[in-house]
Amino acid sequence: MKRLSRSIFSILIFGYAFLYIPLILVVAYSFNDSRIATIWGGFSTRWYGELFRNDQVLDALFLSVRIALTSATLATILGTMAALALARFGRFRGHTLFTGMITSPMVMPEVITGLSLLLLFIALQQLTGWPGQRGFSTITIAHTTFSMAYVAVVVQARLSAMDQSLEEAAMDLGGRPLRVVFDITLPLIAPAMIAGWLLAFTLSLDDLVIASFVSGPGATTLPMYIFSKVKLGVSPDINALASLIIAFVSFGVLLAWAVMRRTEAR
């Protein structure tokens, strides 16, 4: 294939600059000594120090990670079951409703998902007394509900693309469906389940709107904490926090890329 034309090349440069310049500037300003975040007052790392002494940030981070771990795991279990039901069990009663419910959370605007779940929790509380207090449990349920859709789609794509002859051979040889699922299907779709888990984990860590709806007093996730601060404008310790996240993610992604290149070269 011939080389890229000059116009495509310049649009690529412009596009990547558009995507990355804001992030680079946040990192640059995180080393700014001035309290007024947009005026340069000399190099300093003091905002990083303040960040680590800030208990609110650490508490919020801890809560977010706990929610993300729990909801990603639940979403992977439920999503994989749903994918198996859709790709392997044929038609069952309520099949159409099921497919509709499985994909809809992905295209639903966040404000609607958040509002509807909050109203459900309030109604449940009136009827049954549960949930007594909104927080960890309600946010985890909300995150599980929308991220299980993503897991189901990823796992189902793998199941549809997969050669079914192994499972069929196992069944022809007398293997019972339950054993076939655990001995053959699950090991084969494990990479998709891991990908789905990671996706669910990231989605949960990232969510602000749904968590703001279904959370109660006293439970603040990291995005909720960040939002409450940046509502009032640019703030230097958030610059430091953002830079740490950017550095962490970039390192992980570049590492993944390097590993990918090495395995490809082999």
Binding site: I21, M81, F98, M101, L119, R176, P177, L208, K231, L241
Partner: protein, 315 residues
């Protein structure tokens, strides 16, 4: 993940010919695998919508909960369409809905115009650089959405980088108001949703058979005509997936208008939020959500239909 599969209907014929041993247990397993996610979604996805619908048909009340019950103490049903009538007759809401849709549509077009050549460039780049270029598109997904919007606050601020740069160069004398305008919201939407456009476009462009383009050019078609008649029609699934992936979430966006749009930037996601938390008018907030859903049903249905067809073509 735009083009991945919708349900594939395949009969598990083998189940019928199984020997009797353990059949009961296997049936049980299948039932559990279907019922668990089914019940979960029924309770936490479908039920909430029934409740929203119910509350949208009630009157607001200064009480706990702040709306009238659907059935009064005598068991009479009491519903009202007042909230919907209000939404339809109040000009402010009509304008807000229209503005949200227009804003989302403009951002979608802009994402397409920037994203298409980028996806094209990445798909046609050499194999070694392609992976890195693609990773750089996905990387922002893992950096919090909120923080990426926040990054623009520092750029667009009155004392921010763009204004300082323009003043330094001498284009303007006083800071220009960029943040807290519709233009800032539009930039934020385009920036945040650009990767959603590029990924499905890349997926279709990368799979395309390049021999077709070459054949057309060998037969005398110019590069423009080859693009118009071959590349563009073949990439349409990616265009549709990308546009819907940007348009649907952008319509209900809350964070971007809040942080970049300032107090007067009324987009529907924010109106819903304020109606619920600030005005505590639950019935009206529910009605706002229902109308928004009705407006989005057409693109959502289109999307589902499209996904189903894509899955059928692949099978």
């Amino acid at each position: 993940m735009g083009i991945v599969a919708a349900p594939q209907r395949r009969r598990a014929k083998r189940l019928d010919v199984l020997p009797g041993a353990g059949k009961l247990q296997d049936n049980l397993w299948q039932r559990v695998a279907i019922a668990t996610p089914y019940i979960w979604l029924f309770v936490f996805f479908l039920m909430p919508f029934v409740i929203i619908l119910k509350i949208s048909l009630a009157d607001p009340l200064v009480a706990q909960p702040p709306y009238t019950p659907t059935f009064d103490s005598l068991g009479n049903i009491s519903v009202t369409a007042d909230n919907f009538a209000f939404l339809l007759t109040d000009k402010l809401y009509a304008i807000t809905y229209l503005k949200s849709i227009l804003m989302a549509a403009t951002a979608t077009m802009c994402c397409l115009m920037l994203g298409y050549p980028m996806a094209y460039g990445i798909a046609r780049a050499s194999e070694t650089s392609r992976n890195l270029l693609l990773l750089l598109i996905i990387l922002p997904f893992w950096i919090s959405f909120l923080l990426r919007v926040y990054a623009w606050m520092g750029l667009l601020n009155n004392h921010g980088v763009i204004n300082n740069l323009l003043m330094f160069v001498g284009v303007i004398d006083a800071p220009m108001q960029i943040i807290y305008t519709d233009f800032a919201v539009f930039i934020g939407l385009t920036y945040s949703y650009l990767p959603f456009m590029i990924l499905p476009l890349y997926a279709t462009l990368e799979r395309m058979d390049l021999d077709l383009v070459e054949a057309a050019q060998d037969l005398g078609a110019s590069a423009t005509i080859a693009f118009r008649d071959i590349t563009w029609p073949l990439s349409r699934p990616g265009v549709i997936a990308g546009c819907l992936l940007v348009f649907i979430p952008a319509t209900g966006e809350y964070v971007i208008p809040y942080l970049l749009g300032g107090p007067n930037s009324l987009l529907i996601g924010r109106v819903l939020f304020d109606e619920f938390f600030v005005n505590r008018d639950w019935p009206l907030a529910s009605a706002v959500a229902i109308v928004m859903l009705i407006l989005l049903v057409v693109p959502i249905m289109y999307w589902k239909n499209f996904e189903r067809k894509a899955a059928e073509n692949e099978a």
